[in-house]
């Protein structure tokens, strides 16, 4: 696991690369010369500076974060539990297989519209976020359990290692890298799909509502500013969540 963590660290985004793309963006915006078509990063920053002093900004962030993160956590928890159960009981796995495949294949937009019939728009992002996360985590957990070294399991059988120790020291350490990479993918998906659901459902006081209004009024600085906010929030959440997983792994390895 440590090797996986360090590989991820090597892949971290470099400041110089960000600066390079910001410069390209600024140059392109200046070349076009129309803020409505391509707003400059400076204008976005200025808009953000005014936004952060508004209480609605923080309330909207809290509204969306609460729902999308809830959906993510629900999807993750259920993916882990059902992944473990499905590995133990092949009938449950067979039963869930068509459902998971359907969840993976349905386009988000069509499911959002369908879900709007059943669920109030206020909670739509919870459901859609869950819907994106569950199949990814579920599949990765099953793959992780399947990849557990059979030779280690034989060793545990010969030494009569208890079930709890087997789960903690053999299964967990081999499933965690799969779980982690599943979470990485799911984190990106849940923010994209969650905000898309808000844009379609337009619940009051959500980030999605602000994006929708920016689109209606052709308020490009606002559109870009809220997009930056979404990126920052999702990156922060990803850092915190994966940090917690890595901390858990380190604790496990230090045993």
């Amino acid at each position: 696991m440590i090797s996986i963590i360090s590989k991820n660290k090597k892949r971290q985004i470099r400041l110089w690369a960000v600066a390079f793309w910001l410069l390209i963006w600024q140059a392109a915006s200046m070349a076009i010369g129309q803020e409505i078509l391509l707003v400059s990063p400076v204008a976005v920053l200025q808009r953000l500076k005014t936004l952060v002093w508004e209480s609605t900004f923080w309330l909207s962030c809290a509204f969306s974060v609460l729902r999308i993160v809830s959906g993510f956590l629900l999807g993750t928890a259920l993916g882990v539990v059902l992944g473990g159960v499905s590995f133990g009981f092949c009938r449950i796995r067979e039963l869930l297989a068509p459902l998971v495949l359907t969840m993976k294949s349905i386009p988000v937009a069509s499911f959002v519209i369908l879900a709007l019939i059943w669920i109030p728009s206020k909670n739509l992002s919870v459901f859609i976020s869950f819907f994106m996360v569950f199949p990814v985590v579920y599949t990765n957990v099953i793959q992780g359990i399947e990849s557990v070294d059979k030779k280690l399991l034989e060793m545990a059988q010969v030494f009569q290692v208890s079930r709890m120790r087997k789960i903690r020291y053999i299964y967990l350490s081999q499933v965690l890298p799969f779980f982690r990479s599943g979470c990485c993918v799911a984190l990106g998906l849940c923010w994209k799909a969650g905000v898309a659901a808000e844009v379609i459902g337009i619940p009051d006081g959500s980030i999605g509502e602000h994006l929708y209004q920016a689109k209606v009024y052709l308020d490009t600085p606002d559109l870009f500013a809220w997009t930056v906010v979404i990126i920052v929030i999702s990156l922060l959440f990803e850092k915190v969540f994966l940090g917690v997983i890595d901390w858990g792994v380190r604790k496990l390895e230090r045993r």
């Binding site: 034989e154 060793m155 030494f159 009569q160 020291y169 350490s173 230090r254």
Partner: protein, 195 residues
């Protein structure tokens, strides 16, 4: 009473590995199984450990016995420390007791692994991993010990040190060791069983 093996048969497809194999592994002694490669030494050990089912035959003397083993591969949890790998196979809280940890330190010194107990197994060399696997087997709670080429990959000097330690730890106990080296059997004071 030792382990009685009667008319043991095992085939993989068309390939008959063991055919009407009979033997007695004496209790309280070390027995070395010797044969050319592919003659079923590891298969015999796997059957005795309960990891393979024989096609026929009978084995007695393994009932209610606690087994320990060094496998052909090291089979260590790479992310755990060497010490944690050894503690993993201990029953209950024994692995945490002060006495046990002290004994373990002596074991680490005896096989030339002092200072490596807290390091993750993945940082160990091949020979060090072999010694860690040996320590795990020797420090488990066992009545019968199966060793499958336990000294492979060790240099001359280390092998002598480890052999002396194994001989000491296995004195008066039932051990079945697979090896290609007659010299190892002699140092261990073992009876030789040809397959």
């Amino acid at each position: 009473m030792g382990i009685q093996i009667t008319n043991l048969n095992k085939a993989y497809g068309e390939h008959q590995v063991l055919e009407n194999f009979c033997a007695e592994i004496p209790e309280g002694k070390t027995t070395c199984v010797m044969a050319a490669s592919g003659k079923g030494k590891t298969t015999l050990l796997r059957i005795l450990m309960g990891l393979e089912k024989p096609d026929g035959g009978e084995i007695t003397g393994l009932e209610n016995k606690r087994i320990s083993a060094v496998f052909q591969e090291d089979r260590l949890c790479e992310n755990l420390s060497t010490e944690a790998n050894i503690r993993l196979v201990q029953k209950g809280g024994k692995g945490r007791s002060r006495d046990f940890l002290q004994q373990l330190q002596d074991g680490f010194s005896a096989v030339g692994l002092e200072g490596w107990g807290k390091r993750p197994v993945k940082e160990l060399s091949g020979g060090m991993k072999r010694r860690a696997a040996l320590l795990r087997a020797l420090y488990a709670d066992w009545n019968i010990l199966f060793l499958d080429e336990p000294f492979k990959g060790l240099d001359r000097e280390t092998k002598d040190k480890v052999l002396a330690f194994v001989r000491e730890k296995c004195r008066g106990k039932t051990v079945l060791c697979v090896t290609h080296e007659k010299e190892e059997a002699e140092i261990l004071g073992a009876e030789i069983l040809e397959l």
